[in-house]
Symmetry: C2
Subunit: 264 residues, 2 copies
């Protein structure tokens, strides 16, 4: 599975580090910072492909740098900028149900008199009142448009598993009888834009992630190989997933990178 | 549609009154208190069939009495007692995600070391922290069991539309990849127990409600006739519902009762 590679896409949370939540620092996963350095030294193309929507890219890249990772904003593919492109293209004015720290990513977007709802991983902002408010905007639209920054079911933070944006997306979908448009993994267009930014074909790229559906399944749908790490939100029952079979399992990012670099 | 009737099932919220939420009094719907009195005077059997789970039956019956309705606890079929029967039968110990005021309905139930989650319309208790806690209990079970007190999408209170338990049920279903067991409308067993309590057959009964799916669709699935009132959560687009066609529309409960009593 590790042969003939020209580029790697890395998920961030659960692969590089376990998030401590919004402002919590989180904990680097052993060997991951060194593994990123080895990739860069190898000459392989590298892109961080995340559904992180709890902070602007600037902010969480700074956090990762503080944890010892060699990473810059320009190397990150994230849902919020992709959503902004989509909003502009279609003349949509969002009501935002997102984390406070993500709001600056939408600074350039007209948010008056909303004609759609954008939902991200709002964490503490997923209050009863805020959910009701987003619901009322949606149900009041003649043709409700719901844009979701990812469709993850849950993720792991240092203090335990947390519901991800996908769960709340489903709540609004059901209440309003609409289908959300997903921006971010596992959307095909999202992986394709990451590949285009790297300048490699799907066949030349490997995705490394901890999410069996959004990382592994999504990347494979795009024609890429995909490897699941046994860190982050990984659970043993993932290995019996009825639909998705990774090209390989590895204990962590460090092991994946060693195997890949040995094949170069 | 109003002929050969022996019993009526009435939804409460949106039919008798518009709820003001937990402790808010709410507003009676014009003519509804008088209509209930007329039904009782007519000799028709009567049962209130509600998915109300924001308070014990004692508490919301008292509220309705205060609003002028002739109603007693013994006349009410509600999800919490039905759930308690189910929990006892199957030896289930619930983690409760319900409204504070509903907790006394579960006083007799063992809640130590939970092996299932019971979700009701928890209102303000639908916080980010509480949703995560219920999620962690469920995902930690070898075979997750989720019991939902209804599957309503939303309802109307005096200050606007609110998400109902069904939306949060969907969030947990998606996150844990389980299917909830619904107690309450539109579950067939729930309507059947209301009919048994009245001692009438489905063919002799009419359900009157404001919810096209849970009241009208559910009752019709049971072989009853069902009428939708144009009060409460009724919306004009309900009249184009792709699956459910009520036996009649009426402007409100008073009109329905007048038509039915004229046929006796």
């Amino acid at each position: 599975w590790a042969r003939a590679v020209r580029g790697l896409l890395l998920d961030i949370s659960g692969v590089l580090y376990d998030s401590g939540g919004g402002d919590g620092g989180g904990t680097p996963i052993a060997g991951s910072a060194e593994a990123v350095r080895k990739i860069k030294a190898s000459g392989l193309k590298l892109r961080f492909c995340t559904n992180e929507t709890q902070a602007t890219r600037e902010k969480f890249v700074k956090k990762l740098q503080g944890l010892g990772f060699d990473i810059s904003v320009a190397e990150v593919t994230a849902p919020a900028p992709a959503a902004c492109r989509l909003l502009k293209e279609r003349g949509l004015r969002p009501h935002l149900l997102v984390h406070d720290d993500l709001v600056p990513e939408f600074a350039e977007i007209d948010k008056t008199n909303p004609n759609c709802v954008v939902i991200g991983d709002a964490a503490e902002n997923f209050s009863y009142a805020n959910l009701n408010e987003a619901f009322r905007v949606l149900i009041g639209l003649e043709k409700p448009v719901l844009i979701s920054l990812g469709r993850g079911r849950y993720y792991k933070e240092t203090d335990g598993l947390k519901l991800d944006v996908g769960a709340y997306m489903k709540a609004l979908e059901y209440a309003c009888d609409v289908q959300a448009e997903v921006v971010g993994k596992p959307a095909k267009t999202f992986f394709e834009s990451a590949l285009a930014e790297m300048g490699v074909s799907p066949q030349q790229a490997i995705m490394i992630g901890d999410d069996i559906v959004n990382d592994v399944g999504g990347a494979q749908q795009c024609g890429m190989r995909a490897v699941q790490v046994r860190t982050g939100k990984y659970r043993p029952c993932d290995e019996n997933h009825p639909q998705v079979k990774p090209d390989a399992y590895v204990n962590n990012l460090a092991e994946a990178v060693d195997i890949i670099l040995n094949q170069l």
